[in-house]
């Protein structure tokens, strides 16, 4: 199977602290990868680098055959729109938009009609079981529902990669498990590569592979 992510000798320093220290690894297409490590080990920074949200100081990142380190901010934005979906611990939904609008958010900068936009969002909402909640606003939803909206939003452009940063961190274990199952289902049904950052060993065990980080270095990989 071919690689969707190739990382080599990646380094990122914040102030005097080397957050990512000479990290190299690959991710295969369709893989469900978990990244684990204690707080401050560099997990979120690594995710940011892979998504082009942070600039690397040194090294190379190739995602979906695109070299991120040489891309401009605008090119990276377009890259994220079509290649990367994001799911965060705190859901990060726009409070003034309802479910269908939040799901359609990545389509807003595109010049497509609202009808088409919301039709596509409705289809994705169906895939994550949110068809009854399309008109609701984030503050009217449970934590699990909000996270499903976030997952649906990450799927709207059918990206190659889904980055999930502690997606179960703000959920009870049962709801967290349902969200992981949803990600796992998307991975198996749609073949989308999922990179999951988690503290939770039980969730990490459901992945195809685990990378463990400590002080910005990969200390274990299986």
């Amino acid at each position: 199977m071919s690689n969707i992510v190739n990382v080599s000798q990646l380094t990122k320093t914040l102030g005097n602290v080397r957050i990512i220290d000479d990290v190299s690894f690959n991710i295969e297409k369709g893989e469900f990868l978990a990244i684990q490590g204690p707080s401050g080990s560099g997990k979120t920074t690594l995710l940011g680098l892979l998504a082009g949200l942070e600039k690397a100081d040194d090294g190379n990142i190739v995602v979906a055959d695109k070299e991120l380190t040489s891309m401009t901010e605008d090119e990276l934005a377009i890259f994220r729109r079509y290649n990367v979906g994001f799911v965060f611990q705190s859901f990060n939904l726009i409070p003034t938009l309802n479910v269908v609008e939040n799901i359609a958010l990545p389509l807003f900068p595109e010049h497509i009609s609202r009808k088409i936009m919301f039709e596509r969002a409705g289809e994705v909402a169906k895939a994550v079981g949110l068809t009854q909640r399309l008109d609701h606003y984030p503050n009217e939803l449970s934590g699990g529902e909000q996270q499903r909206v976030a997952v649906a939003r990450s799927l709207i452009n059918a990206p190659n990669l889904i980055f999930a940063d502690e997606p179960t961190g703000n959920l009870d274990s049962k709801t967290g498990q349902m969200v992981v199952e949803l990600l796992r289902k998307l991975n198996s049904d749609r073949g989308q590569t999922v990179v999951l950052v988690t503290h939770d060993d039980r969730i990490a065990k459901e992945s195809d592979r685990i990378i463990k980080l400590l002080d910005g270095r990969i200390v274990h990989e299986n």
């Binding site: 979120t44 938009l97 958010l105 990545p106």
Partner: protein
């Protein structure tokens, strides 16, 4: 993006209300203050409507020692025809009218008598106020003011005596007592000049020639008003114009030149100031609004930084977010502007129901104080509805200033948004 902007503004309307209110207030102040200043400027022209001119020239005269017979309306001095000719040569002068205002102290009553050329502009304006009869066709005919005619039972065809001479009433005019040059009797200018020329009492006070007048009405197109007024000032202060002595040995008086500006100064000092300080007021409003709106907008942007972080994360370019925020600013600007425009329209309608009082200078409606039962009756005031309207110029000016506020706000907002690093925003949860 427009849809998103509308949703944002409606869902968080309390946050944006301050901006809309500030912008509305700026529009209201700019439109209303300037329209009000303009209305007072227009009001200052209203007394000139009665004379079909916009410059009035008179000359200061001397006070007579006795009040009997025919005198020049106090305290006016004769103006030679030579001056009328010189002024009429000015290119900016559209037309010129002259009159002779007299006080006639007859044994049975006092009357104000005006000699008028019924074929010049002033005379035609007077003729338009005819309510009975016709304008005098001979020097023996007169027009009587309606109030005076009622008081002395004069009607068309009746005879009356002025300074010992018999005149027939040719017509009755309905002039208001507070008009410029309001008189009891109007007769041909030549007849009035002859009457003045023959008056011994008058000739003792001033040297009056047969063709002299004591009031000139000059009609000038509005753009030329300042230049022509200045030219006339040069003429009347020129050599020979003020030289000489009266028969009593007093110095011949200088000239008074009245323009709408003369009335502007007295009807509203505040709006005269505001008119002159338009640019300063506009600048203060612009700076004040820019500070309030920008600060509020930046505060909102800071509150929404996570939202912008999310947008960048899901693939919005900086430019997309800038467009979104600028669109929101533009909608607030328009909402505020239209709110201000509606409020201004209401203010203009309310103000149009108020009146403005314009005190007419004594010399333009002179009446002997000692003949009045109440001295305050001598103070002639015209009351006019305030001629205020919604001026398109000020509407556009307010829009331009508000747009400038919007541009400053957009610039600062864009600068603030560009500083956000999505990972920093997302990291601090």
């Amino acid at each position: 993006m427009f849809y998103y902007a509308i949703k944002e503004l409606l869902k968080r309307k309390k946050l944006y209300l301050l901006n809309v209110m500030t912008i509305g207030l700026v529009a209201l102040m700019i439109i209303t203050l300037n329209s009000l200043a303009n209305a007072y400027r227009e009001a200052a022209r209203l007394p000139f409507q009665d004379i079909q001119g916009n410059i009035i020239i008179q000359r200061n005269g001397n006070v007579p020692e006795t009040t009997s017979g025919v005198l020049l309306s106090c305290s006016l001095a004769p103006i030679p025809q030579d001056l009328v000719s010189q002024i009429s040569k000015n290119d900016g002068v559209k037309d010129i009218s002259t009159a002779l205002a007299l006080w006639v102290f007859d044994p049975d009553n006092f009357k104000r008598v005006s000699g008028v050329d019924f074929h010049d502009n002033f005379g035609k304006t007077l003729a338009a106020k005819l309510i009975d009869g016709s304008i005098p066709s001979t020097d023996n005919q007169i027009l009587a003011d309606k109030t005076y005619a009622q008081k002395y039972s004069l009607a068309v065809g009746r005879e009356t005596t002025i300074s010992g001479r018999q005149f027939t009433v040719a017509g009755i005019v309905g002039t208001a007592g507070n008009e410029v040059m309001a008189s009891d009797i109007y007769l041909n200018l030549g007849a009035a000049q002859e009457m003045a020329y023959q008056s011994e009492n008058l000739q003792q006070v001033e040297t009056f020639n047969k063709t002299d007048v004591n009031i000139i009405f000059v009609n000038v197109s509005q753009p030329d008003l300042k230049t022509v007024t200045q030219d006339i000032k040069v003429i009347v202060t020129g050599s020979g114009m003020n030289a000489g002595k009266t028969p009593l040995g007093q110095t011949i008086g200088g000239y008074n030149i009245y323009t709408p500006e003369s009335f502007e100064n007295q009807i509203s000092t505040i709006f005269r100031i505001s008119d002159k300080l338009t640019w300063v007021i506009s600048l203060v409003l612009f700076v004040g609004a820019a500070i309030i709106v920008s600060r509020n907008s930046l505060r909102i942007i800071l509150e929404r930084r996570r939202e912008f972080g999310i947008m960048k994360t899901v693939g919005f370019k900086n430019r997309d977010i800038q467009i979104e925020v600028n669109l929101e600013t533009f909608i607030q600007i328009l909402a505020g502007f239209f709110a201000g425009l509606i409020l201004s329209s209401i203010a203009v309608v309310v103000l149009s129901h108020t009146t403005v009082s314009i005190a007419i200078p004594w010399e333009l409606t002179a009446y002997p104080h000692f003949l009045l039962s109440n001295p305050s009756e001598a103070n002639v005031t015209q009351m006019h509805p305030l001629p205020i309207g919604l001026e398109p110029l000020y509407v556009f000016a307010s829009l331009a200033i508000i747009m400038a506020v919007g541009l400053v706000t957009s610039f600062l907002s864009v600068w603030q948004i560009n500083k956000f690093k999505p990972m920093e925003v997302m990291r601090h949860e």
